[in-house]
């Protein structure tokens, strides 16, 4: 069974979504990327799906939270990513949930799901069931080979 890694700002929106998934019951480990550099650095050693909020705005700069960029800049962390789920707000037009597009393209992994703000009850059910199925279908694989530079 794989795991889940997420980032949530002090607004805790994404945190609340992840909590509602109840992944402990599925024996899926859940890890949070620290809010500030001073809070330490998260190092992962098993495959995970990443859940990130999109920082809203018209331009794409800063759409992926800085702490998430830092986390993915670590080659070992990056080697274990298997998919991405993004949160956002349709009010941001073309930039809606674009953090998912950016990470999926950069890491070459599927963009699994997009939801708005805290997510609805339906989003929670779909993602919970979807993750369970997703990990069942994944081969028990060694770390993916990621090119050193893209």
């Amino acid at each position: 069974m794989g795991s889940l890694v997420y980032f949530s700002s002090v607004s805790e929106n994404t945190h609340r979504f992840v909590k509602r998934l109840g992944l402990e019951e599925l024996e899926m480990a859940v890890r949070r990327i620290p809010l500030r550099p001073a809070d330490g650095f998260l190092q992962v050693d098993e495959p995970y799906v990443l859940v990130v909020p999109t920082y809203g705005g018209g331009n794409e700069g800063g759409a992926v939270p800085r702490q998430v960029r830092k986390f993915l800049n670590d080659e070992r962390n990056r080697s274990f990513i298997r998919g991405v789920i993004a949160a956002g707000n349709t009010n941001f037009g073309a930039a809606y949930c674009i953090a998912g597009d950016i990470i999926a393209a950069k890491c070459g992994v599927p963009y699994l799901y997009a939801f708005e703000l805290l997510g609805t009850a339906q989003d929670v059910t779909r993602v919970r069931n979807g993750l369970a199925r997703f990990w069942q279908q994944q081969p028990q694989n060694p770390p993916r080979q990621v090119p050193l530079s893209a």
Partner: protein, 326 residues
């Protein structure tokens, strides 16, 4: 308002030090708002004149009234709403963010005037403004919100303000998205999209500050505010439904607009930290309207539901961030 009728001001002001933050969200949102800054002059609304002339009289009337209604809401938010939040602010940086929000609301209000001056004659503009003074549903909406702004309960003020930013605008925002989905008034729609983007940040921030305030309260107090929030939402929704009927009834768009209202009501609640109220089947927005709002929303980002075997790997997106190492 204090008994003398003057707006309450904060008692003491210290020089604001942006190098010492109590809540990092203040700087993050300030930067976001400044980065999103725009002025109506940069949108070529005059290119819509030809398109405007293809609309029928009832369509023109609906559109004009929608924009007058939006002007009123933005005026309220600029001159009263955002300003009334300043004395309640928890940090000096929060006060500064509200001044930014207040100014942008005034920019929004002014941008409707630039749409009017492009598309309408002076008597038509005057008629529209006098309609706004006499529309019972529009006036009631304004009155409900203003009452909370004048009241002395800071958190209720934030609830009302978030409702305005994230819910009450959308009976109006529907119209330009509708026209855009039919390839009409597309420049006007571009301008409105900039407003919609701003309101998202405003609603998010004010809702976040509400939740910070809520954390300081006892459980019974929190429960009371939650009950109050849902009551207010129902009161506003009922009025919005009637307002929608008065604007869109003749054009047969009422059901479509109402789904959009409920979708946004859910988002207002989420901005306040509450779970969505209306179930999915009541909030299924017409896909054409959703696509006009966000071209990214109709892409299949639901690999899990398994409707197909393919998933999106992500378009190549140019980012301006230079701190990616790969």
């Amino acid at each position: 308002m204090s008994p003398t009728g003057k707006l309450k001001l904060i008692d003491r002001v210290s020089a604001i030090n942006w190098n010492r933050l109590e809540d990092e969200k203040d700087l993050e949102v300030w930067d976001r708002l400044v980065g999103n800054f725009w002025l109506p002059e940069k949108v070529p609304v005059s290119n819509d004149i030809q398109s405007w002339n293809t609309l029928s009289e009832p369509e023109k009337l609906m559109t004009t009234r929608v924009f007058t209604g939006l002007t009123l809401l933005d005026t309220i938010q600029g001159t009263v709403g955002a300003v009334s939040l300043i004395p309640d602010a928890l940090t000096p940086h929060e006060e500064a963010v509200y001044t930014n929000i207040a100014f942008m609301e005034s920019v929004h209000a002014k941008s409707y005037s630039s749409i009017f001056s492009t598309l309408l004659s002076t008597p038509e503009i005057d008629d529209a403004f006098s309609w706004s003074e006499n529309s019972p549903h529009l006036q009631k909406k304004a009155e409900i919100v203003l009452e909370y702004y004048r009241g002395d309960e800071p958190l209720k003020r934030k609830v009302a303000s978030t409702m305005l930013e994230s819910f009450l605008f959308y009976s109006g925002f529907y119209a330009p998205m509708y026209w855009s989905s039919r390839a009409k008034l597309t420049n006007t729609a571009d301008l409105i999209r900039l407003i919609i983007r701003d309101e998202a940040v405003h609603g998010y921030y004010i809702g976040y500050k509400y939740q910070k305030g809520l954390e300081q309260l006892t459980q019974p107090e929190q429960d009371e505010l939650k009950a109050y929030t849902f009551e207010l939402l129902f009161e506003l929704y009922e009025n919005e439904a009637e307002y929608t009927e008065s604007l869109y009834g003749e054009l047969g768009l009422v059901d479509d607009v109402k789904a959009f209202l409920r979708y946004n009501a859910n988002k207002a609640l989420m901005n306040l930290g509450y779970e969505a109220l209306f179930p999915k089947e009541d909030t299924d927005v017409n896909p054409a309207i959703l696509a006009a709002l966000s071209p990214n929303a109709d892409e299949n980002h639901d690999f899990f539901s398994g409707s197909g075997s393919s998933y999106v790997i992500g378009k190549a997106v140019e980012t301006e961030d230079d701190d990616w190492d790969f």
